[in-house]
Amino acid sequence: MMTEVSMLIDVAKCIGCRGCQVACKQWNQRPAEKTKFTGTYQNPPRLSANTWTLIQFIEPEDYDENPRWLFRKQQCHHCVDAPCEQVCPTGAIKKLENGIVYINQSICTGCKYCVEVCPFDIPQFDRASGTVRKCWMCLDRVKNGLEPACATTCPTGAVSFGSRTGMLAVARERQNILEKQGFSTRIYGKDELGGQHVMYLLPEKASIYGLPEAPRKPTEKIFWRWLLGVIPGMAILVAIFAYLFKQRSASDTAASDAKSGGE
């Protein structure tokens, strides 16, 4: 059994240099997007099939009371209980033993279901290849004993990589340090969606970073949803049946009322 790997993103350490964003493109040979400066440093504006990781630049609403500029590295969370993998109708998305969730480009049909299912809006459809792409935690590097490109590049240690237990330990240790310095933090991804292989140490509320406070697996309670469609649907059918049944004689009347016989 391979050990489960994980990435820890220590948001408090990120300086928004975007070395990781470029390293990702370089290692994975994703082409640059044509962008415009729109008034924020964040660019490209959002993840895409060619942009697998992206630094969000956030000037919080309450800046004037508490000036800060927040940066969060967006990328696939590699969930333990990965909804994308569960809904992939061809099995192109696979959860590997080491925890990496990856999309086999030779199998993906480009149905784009995972794109809509992911609670973090991560997988993106590539019009050029007709498949869906996302961060694969540099599986090729990891297999060869290297860290993902972003982790290697990050100058501040905001991105680190190792075994899941190791990363959890690091996260807890950092949490203690920050606690002592007066910041309470949350290890996002420790338990969310069954735990994730990319964990964030968040010094602020998750929602400030555009993360759902309590991410939910969209497929949970799916059975009830089916029932909620089926039972009223059946009721409608019964109603139709009853109506038509009651109207049978009227139908006969209508038929005989007709001036000319068509049958």
Partner: protein, 826 residues
């Protein structure tokens, strides 16, 4: 840097001022982050809230160009606090290692007493006669000291009087910093003065690129000396150099006023090695306990001449010293002067290697015009730069409205150059570490290394002189040029020549202590002597062990001087040689003591700044065979009072050349630095200066992480262009709403010299400054863009003026006056 990158992790207080290290030196934050993890406090001082500020415990906004007021106020805070709580400061350091106790000529006057100038000012020449800026000497010619620091004329008291005018309220009315924030900064940084604690100042171009940039740094130096932060681990004043190898290029004399190893360039009065040495270096010290290292300069200049002229440099011939070009006394040959001379047609040709002045030079429109006056221009670069392209440049900010190429006669040559990873050689980082690198990939196409290009150029010029003769052709033809016969010159031969040889044995020298003035040694750069020895190429060492535990990594690469990782480290120990900071000792004396006296010499840790005995024996008696710690100064003491500067021995606040205020807020007559050259007065053409009435907004320029300098290297890389696709103008919400500008609008910025078009970046991170009830707005623009390459945009330097620092002539890029409006609005 007096210290080095890794050492930042040892700091307890970090002040980043005049620098946006997180954005422009992201790797520095590896160490800043480690320091913060240890509990260090980070202070970010900047006109706007940057990515650096985002990590700071205290963010202090400060109007561009007011560093001196900011720092003088801090110095005042420290001096006041020192009086109340001397136990929180290292007073032994102050009176023993700095010139605080030295008595100054009683005729010396401070600007507070002389309406804004120091004594000796000549208004017509705009220069100082420094006769009164000197120590009082005793009968032996040794400076007189008052270790009690009470004498009215001692440096300490002078400084106290000088900064007494900079109380927090006054300071904040100049800088626009909220007073409580300012006091928080003062208190927090002053805490680094406790014995055993260390504070570092990280600075960059935001400090230097002012008409008083040198004085800004002087301010830091004074503060750090009072806080005993020089020479210690986690201390120092650390210049974050803007390019990976700018430290190396400065060491190897890229600037006009120095030869390799910071030897002065000779001027007309230095007619011989002897007069050169005497005029600049010798006889400056009578105190036997001062090492006065520059006393050795004669050895260095002679060894340099031996490296250059080899056997032709003989004692009989004054070591070919006569071949060296001499500058006119006090004439400046800096960037602005060169371009003004080009503009006049005095300079006919330019070799432009790895530089892009059409984007990077101040008053860029004028400099682009100056290029038109050249007969020829050679650009060696990775891409066709804006400079190489100047003959089809836009007339103004409209990128598609071009000048007429037919009207420009300059012949332009473009030499494709190899990038740093495409050639072998050393790169010296800001921490003075010379690190050897290898060719990772071969240069594409016909691109060649700079060494190759210079080698061919030299050979071609020599051949020309040989065939056709010419004035002082011997200066070229006698030059020693032995870098092998291969196509690519032997870079190791160059590195060895820089290190130097014992010419009697032909062996590489182990260190500059072995250099002689008699012609028996050579060294292309005395500071680098020890970098390539018989033991091998020191810069190529890659041993990652660190027995010091403070991150010296003494066997990783090599660092000048003599692999000393923290310079002035003799100040990190007390007079008995014991480290102030027991946790992070840089060096420590471990000689044997007998009867209270040291009898053997042994320093451990970093290479000490001179291996002499400590100043004091364990029993408290002073030793005569010891030397003061600041060996590069004639008096052996660090200078709080710095008489060497052109514009004053202590920093005084002046406004930038273009200031939003109509007079000096310190209340005296001199609004701007009285010792700067006024180009707009001497040479008005193209050097217009704006007034606050027309241009009420302060402008500044800066860089972003995603682009590099004048942009040729990065504006051509799609991955980086994607991140930062266009030039933008950062401004406060308040200014934007005053001007009817929305985030993302295209805006036009104007100064007296030019215009720029960019995208508005309206942000809370910029706030208007409140200066004594007056609201002053500031905007900021990254200066990477130009008209050539993949990502094109207006150049911020079309806005900046031709004016430079009084000492260095570095241009004042960082503060000017401008106006901004929405594009299309009259």
């Amino acid at each position: 840097m007096t210290n080095h990158w890794i050492d930042i992790r040892n700091a307890d207080r970090i002040m980043i001022i005049g620098s946006n290290a997180a954005e422009n030196h992201p790797i520095s934050f590896k160490w800043v982050t480690k320091a913060i993890e240890r509990g260090a406090k980070l202070i970010s001082v900047d006109p706007r809230f940057t990515r650096t500020s985002s990590k700071a415990h205290i963010y202090a906004p400060m109007r561009s160009g007011t560093d001196i007021a900011f720092i003088n106020g801090l110095i005042k805070y420290v001096l006041d606090d020192m009086e109340k709580n001397p136990q929180n400061y290292n007073m032994e350091y102050v009176h023993e290692y700095t010139n605080a106790s030295f008595l100054i000529d009683p005729a010396f006057k401070l600007p507070g007493d002389l309406n804004g100038v120091f004594s000796g000012y000549d208004k017509n020449k705009r220069t100082y006669n420094k006769d009164t800026w000197k120590y009082q000497l005793d009968g032996k010619g040794i400076p007189i000291k008052d270790k009690s620091l009470k004498d009215r004329n001692c440096v300490f008291q002078l400084l106290k009087r000088h900064v007494s005018r900079y109380d927090a309220k006054t300071v904040c009315s100049i800088t626009g910093t909220p007073e409580d924030t300012y006091l928080d900064v003062c208190k927090t940084f002053a805490e680094s003065g406790r014995p055993g604690k260390a504070g570092t100042i990280m600075y960059a171009m935001g400090t230097t690129q002012h008409t008083y940039g040198t004085q800004n740094i002087r301010g830091y130096a004074i503060l750090q000396l009072l806080l005993a932060n020089m020479g210690v681990a986690g201390g120092g004043i650390n210049a974050l150099r803007g390019e990976s190898n700018v430290q190396g290029s400065t060491d190897h004399c890229i600037l006009f006023h120095i030869l390799p190893g910071y030897l002065a360039t000779p001027d007309e009065e230095d007619v011989s090695v002897d007069s050169y040495s005497k005029n600049h270096y010798e006889g400056k010290n009578k105190d036997p306990k001062s090492a006065n290292w520059w006393d050795n300069a004669r050895k260095y200049i002679v060894s340099l001449l031996k490296a250059w002229y080899g056997d032709r440099a003989t004692p009989a011939d004054d070591f070919a010293y006569g071949y060296l070009p001499k500058r006119e006394v006090d004439r400046d040959y800096s960037h602005i002067s060169l371009f003004e001379a080009m503009y006049d047609g005095t300079i006919k040709g330019m070799l432009c290697m790895g530089q892009n002045p059409a984007v990077g030079g101040p008053n860029a429109q004028k400099e682009r015009k100056a290029l038109e006056k050249l007969d020829w221009l050679v650009c060696a670069d990775l891409w066709e730069t804006d400079t190489a392209n100047f003959w089809r440049r836009p007339k103004a900010d409209n990128l598609n409205d071009l000048v007429d190429p037919a009207a420009i006669k300059t012949e332009v040559f473009l030499l494709p150059a190899a990038a740093s990873v495409e050639k072998e050689g050393s790169i010296t980082n800001s921490g003075r570490w010379s690190q050897w690198r290898y060719t990772a990939v071969h240069p594409p196409g016909k691109a060649k290394s700079d060494l190759w290009i210079l080698d061919r150029l030299f050979k071609a010029v020599s051949a020309r002189y040989k065939n056709q003769g010419g004035p002082i052709s011997a200066a070229i033809l006698d030059m020693q040029w032995n870098y092998g016969s291969a196509d690519e010159p032997d870079v190791h031969a160059v590195a060895k020549e820089i290190n130097g040889y014992d010419l009697t044995t032909g062996k590489l020298l182990p260190s500059f202590g072995k250099l002689n003035a008699d012609g028996t040694t050579s060294s292309g750069n005395w500071l680098y002597c020890a970098s390539y020895t018989e033991a091998g190429n020191m810069a190529a060492r890659r041993n990652g062990i660190d027995p010091s535990n403070i991150g010296l990594y003494a066997e990783w690469s090599w660092c000048w001087p003599v692999n000393r990782r923290i310079i002035y480290n003799r100040a990190s120990v007390d007079m008995k040689g014991r480290p102030w900071d027991k946790e992070h000792p840089v060096i420590a004396f471990e000689g044997v003591a007998l009867d209270g006296k040291y009898v053997t010499k042994k320093w451990i840790g970093d290479v000490p700044d001179g291996g002499w005995y400590p100043l004091m024996n364990p029993d408290g008696t002073l030793r005569d065979d010891a030397r003061y710690p600041f060996i590069m100064k004639p008096e052996g003491h660090a200078r709080i009072f710095g008489m060497g500067r052109a514009d004053g021995p202590l920093p005084e606040h002046y406004e930038p050349l273009e200031s939003p205020l109509d007079k000096n807020p310190m209340g005296h007559a001199e609004a701007i630095n009285p010792a700067i050259k006024l180009w707009h007065k001497d040479r008005p053409e193209g050097n217009e200066i704006g007034t606050p009435a027309d241009f009420p907004i302060v402008g500044t320029t800066y860089r972003v992480t995603e682009h590099w300098q004048a942009g040729a290297m990065t504006r051509n890389l799609p991955w980086l262009v994607e991140l930062m696709p266009d030039v933008f103008v950062e401004m406060s919400r308040e200014l934007a709403s005053e001007k009817g500008i929305k985030n993302g609008n295209r805006v036009i910025v104007t100064t007296a010299r030019g215009t720029l078009e960019g995208v508005a970046c309206v942000t809370s991170r910029f706030k208007p400054f409140q200066l004594n009830g007056k609201v002053v707005h500031q905007i900021g623009i990254p200066w990477h863009w130009g008209y050539a390459g993949l990502s094109r945009g207006s150049s911020a330097n079309c806005l900046t003026p031709h004016v430079g620092d009084a000492n260095t002539m570095i241009p004042e890029y960082k503060a000017f006056l401008c106006d901004v409006k929405k594009k299309g609005v009259a």
